[in-house]
């Protein structure tokens, strides 16, 4: 056989395996790797090994057969609890579970949409279209709500309240007066140049402020002494800066907007494939 013929059969064989892997379900392979099936859900050898590895790191002596068995039983228990949790609809009824799932989904969507390389040409075009944005703020009017660290549960409860009120559009000053803790120094209630803001606000927070837009309120930010919510009331834009001096900011903003777009598109796809009925 000549080389062309060998190449042809090779490609054909490759396509066959590709189609086989796509068309034929691989349950059998998975089941064969499973060590236990719990209500039809497999627990794989790999999961068991991982749990054993974790145990070995916390145990001075070698793992015994009894340990191995105990770990497997715990994995079964965990699977049973998980299934029960889904059965009683925990993701819909427990805020923390729900939040955790939603956050994980967002991370997954953003990770899938991440751009590995962006060419300079694309960035320059993006910069040209958003010059105003990259000129930076010359002056900003900022307000903050400060929440001093107390106990985790107390903090969570207060943070939830503040978040809900802010999302509902409650007046920022009202929320601050009702729920904020007092901390020095107060930020002057006026437009301040970024340089001056740094006398009142830690530079780490100023970096965040630089990327805010008027009207925007941040979620809580952890600082040395407590949580901070920032609100940008207004800003005055600064002078135009050349592309090279802001290239990193342009890339970061481009990626941020790309992440937002990925999420938006994904949610749109979800909406399209779902049945949403507005009852009222």
């Amino acid at each position: 056989m000549n080389n062309r013929l060998i190449l042809f059969f090779g490609v054909l064989l490759g396509l066959f395996f590709l189609l086989y892997s796509v068309i034929i379900p691989n349950d059998k392979i998975e089941i064969s790797d499973a060590v236990v099936s719990v209500n039809g859900h497999p627990i794989y050898q790999a999961d068991w090994d991982l749990a054993l590895q974790a145990l070995s790191m916390n145990k001075r002596n070698e793992i015994t057969e009894e340990d191995k068995s105990l770990v497997l039983e715990r994995l079964i228990d965990e699977q049973l609890l998980l299934q029960r949790g889904l059965e009683i609809d925990l993701p819909q009824t427990e805020g923390m579970v729900r939040k955790s799932i939603v956050n994980s989904m967002i991370d997954k969507i953003v990770a899938e949409g991440t751009l590995f390389t962006v060419s300079d040409d694309v960035l320059i075009e993006f910069y040209q279209d958003n010059k105003d944005f990259f000129s930076g703020h010359s002056e900003v009017h900022i307000k903050k709500i400060f929440l001093e660290y107390k106990s985790q549960s107390e903090d969570e409860e207060k943070l939830d309240t503040i978040r809900e009120l802010l999302i509902d559009g409650e007046d920022f000053d009202f929320v601050e007066a009702e729920y904020g803790d007092y901390i020095l120094p107060e930020i002057p209630n006026m437009l301040l140049p970024i340089k001056k803001l740094k006398d009142y606000v830690e530079p780490d927070l100023v970096d965040i402020i630089l990327n805010m837009t008027p009207g925007q309120i941040t979620s809580e930010i952890e600082t040395q002494n407590g949580y901070v919510f920032l609100y940008m009331l207004s800003s005055i834009r600064g002078e135009e800066r050349d592309f090279q001096s802001v290239k990193n900011e342009v890339l970061s903003e481009y990626e941020r907007r790309n992440d937002e777009l990925s999420l938006k598109n994904y949610i749109e796809w979800l909406r399209n494939k779902s049945e949403i009925i507005y009852v009222q």
Binding site: Y182, L184, P185, P203, N225
Partner: protein, 690 residues
């Protein structure tokens, strides 16, 4: 709920600045820039502008070159340069707000003729709102900075340092340019004088009158009031607290600068007795008079020569008499003396970063405690407080980091022993007897800077402080209004935040207020520590200046805050009850500290509230100010003399930081000190109908 009620600062921001900066337009600054003194060459106004904007990142500053060394050309360039610093693309920017000013550098040879230095700062930059010429101080200052400047450098220096000949030649040009300006005719209104003559005033009252003749109302800021290097011993504030000296025009005082702190009163005096019969006071555990130490130096030499104890004691006594009689510059009567010989004599031992030879009778506290009863209505000084750098190298706001003492303090770098011997010549002879010269002999000797113990002063120079204003806007008007209200405070360098209010009524009375009340005053102080600094400069600096220029001008170190603040560890309250009759002893009227209030150990700042429960009962006016103390941090020349003490607390040996070759350039001479912010006082009187 007090805290929430007290939140009412929303309409003001704190702006930091430096109202005392020199370029090489000043004689002493030009002299210090020369190669023999390790200078970096000329420091033009543009350097100061860049430094304020990119190195120290302050909000405002003022140029205050010595009027006595000014010329019409320099004054015009000063005004033009400040306008250039202020304007961008045809409009005034507010990133750094520069002011035009000059320094009236008055020095009197005797306490009766001495008024001290005043900075004159103008609000606006328009030609019609600025003085037609800087107005110098007559007498000693004009002689030293204008007529006798050749004594600063021996002529041979330019020849010996041939590679830098041009710089010395420039200095001679500088001197000649100053001398070529004719004196303005006397007895003519300042408004009517031509702009190309040299005008001077002998007293603060005359200075203010001349400015008023031009329809000008600038700030007149006394500064360096306790500097003993030029203040004749026994000088006091009293003679300036008279209507003709216009004390009401001196609204603001510079409490501290890189040349030392003028705040604290102490009961010691350098010399007692009268001008015609001066007496050297005996030493105490708190103070060793320099005249007394002069006697000890001669006595030690005498005993080393093997002369009798009685003879040596007699020589010591005579030495004390002659040096007390001379007053300022007594060291010149001791042939062959060195700075180390003087131990800690003449110095305030427990003051915070005191001025060299600190003179308590011209301290800020003394000034606030005295009253003039000669008029129907008693007169008092009612100063607001600021600090400054008094930098002579075009570097406003140097106090942000303890780096590069040879750039950021006034220390003079002398390259080698060869040059030191020619700058500060020391006789190898060390006779065991005093030079029997009178005050007149010394004044006529042609000595100028040599009288000031310049070498010994080196280790008293720090990076200086800042002025802070509670301003309603980031603008020239906002800053000026805050100064006018005295809603200002001083810091010893770090950018601390400070509020001090009287809160007994529904309206807050901020620092600087003058109030009349019918109940005991209640005060709230809030203070926040400065941000700890990161090494190097922020990106912003390199956007405005090249790397080379950042290195040269900022020494590669800029104001560069981290996210962590220093702790404020306590708040001290000083209460002064100004004299209500002439017999009251000032030392009993100054309560420092009246209160010392600890702060919780946190980095969020500190807030304290207190009441003076005796105010109504005492039935007399009182002045209160707050001192916020920050945790100790490394400071250049934080301990000026580094004495080794005996068990009784006597200084046996000093180890000062010299600017010259004796101290490694990389040694920044650091000692930890508790930096601070001083509020302006609140002046309170009791309502008379109560």
């Amino acid at each position: 709920m007090l805290q929430k009620k007290m939140r009412s600062y929303g309409g003001k921001q704190i702006l930091f600045g430096d109202f005392h900066v020199h370029t090489t337009f000043s004689t002493d600054a030009f002299w210090w820039s020369l190669p023999i003194l390790g200078g970096e060459g000329v420091h033009p106004m543009a350097d100061a502008c860049d430094y304020a904007r990119y190195c120290s990142s302050i909000d405002f500053w003022a140029i205050t070159d010595h009027a006595e060394a000014s010329t019409p050309r320099k004054w015009q360039e000063t005004k033009d340069s400040i306008r250039q610093c202020s304007f961008k693309n045809g409009s005034e920017t507010n990133d750094v707000i520069p002011f035009v000013g000059f320094e009236w550098t008055q020095v009197g040879p005797t306490p009766e003729e001495h008024y001290g230095h005043k900075n004159v700062i103008f609000k606006d930059l328009e030609e019609s709102k600025l003085s037609k010429r800087p107005i110098g101080a007559g007498g000693t200052a004009t002689n030293a900075l204008r007529n006798n400047t050749e004594s600063l450098i021996p002529p041979i220096v330019g020849v010996l340092d041939i590679l830098n000949f041009q710089d010395y030649s420039d200095f001679n040009y500088f001197i000649n340019e100053v001398r070529d300006i004719p004196l303005c005719p006397k007895n003519q209104s300042s408004e009517d004088l031509s702009s190309d003559c040299y005008e001077f005033a002998d007293t603060p009252g005359e200075l203010i009158r001349k400015l008023e003749e031009q329809n000008l109302d600038p700030l007149i800021i006394p500064h360096g009031s306790t500097w003993g290097f030029y203040t004749p011993p026994s000088s006091s504030w009293d003679k300036q607290l008279v209507p003709e000296m216009r004390p009401e025009k001196m609204k603001i005082i510079e409490i501290m600068s890189g040349h030392g702190n003028a705040e604290e009163y102490r009961s010691y005096e350098q010399i007692i007795g009268s001008l015609n019969n001066p007496v050297c006071p005996k030493p105490t555990s708190e103070f060793l008079p320099s005249c007394w130490r002069a006697g000890q130096i001669i006595e030690e030499r005498c005993l080393r020569e093997g002369l009798s104890k009685a003879e040596c004691e007699e020589r010591a006594k005579k030495t004390r008499e002659f040096t007390a009689n001379i007053g300022l510059g007594g060291h010149t009567l001791i042939t062959g003396e060195t700075p180390d010989d003087w131990l800690d004599s003449g110095q305030c031992k427990d003051c915070f970063l005191p001025a060299f030879n600190h003179n308590p009778l011209t301290s800020v506290q003394y000034g606030l405690a005295i009253t003039n009863f000669s008029s129907e209505k008693p007169i008092n000084f009612k100063w607001g407080f600021i600090s400054a750098s008094d930098n002579h190298r075009s570097r406003p706001g140097t106090g942000y980091k303890p780096v590069d003492r040879l750039k950021n303090t006034e220390m003079i770098k002398i390259r080698s022993k060869f040059w030191k011997d020619r700058t500060f010549p020391i006789s190898k002879k060390k006779p065991a007897s005093v030079l029997e010269l009178s005050r007149e002999d010394i004044l006529n000797s042609g000595l100028s800077f040599q009288l000031t113990e310049l070498e010994r002063q080196q280790s008293f120079w720090t990076q200086g402080g800042l002025a802070a204003v509670h301003s309603e806007s980031r603008s020239r008007d906002g800053i000026w209004d805050a100064l006018d209200r005295k809603e200002v405070y001083a810091t010893s360098g770090p950018r601390m935040l400070l509020w001090f209010d009287e809160v007994s009524s529904n309206t807050l009375k901020p620092m600087g207020s003058e109030i009349i009340i019918s109940e005991n005053p209640i005060f709230v102080v809030k203070a926040v520590g400065s941000f700890k600094q990161l090494p190097g400069c922020p990106e912003f600096t390199f956007e405005g200046m090249s790397g080379d220029r950042v290195e040269k001008l900022c020494a590669g170190e800029c104001y560069n805050p981290s996210s962590e603040r220093h702790k404020v560890i306590r708040i001290e309250i000083i209460k002064i009850t100004p004299q209500v009759n002439t017999t009251e002893n000032v030392s009993e009227l100054i309560m420092d500290p009246w209160l010392s209030l600890p702060c919780e150990n946190n980095t969020n700042g500190c807030e304290v509230k207190f009441e003076d429960k005796d105010f109504i009962k005492d039935n007399r006016p009182a002045v209160y100010y707050a001192r916020a103390i920050q945790e100790a941090t490394e400071t250049i020349n934080g301990d000026a003399l580094k004495c080794t003490y005996d068990d009784q607390g006597n200084c046996l040996e000093v180890n000062p930081c010299y600017g010259d070759f004796r101290i490694d350039e990389n040694d920044q001479c650091l000692t930890k000190v508790e930096h601070r912010a001083w509020s302006s006082p609140i002046f309170i009187s009791k309502a008379q109908n109560e």
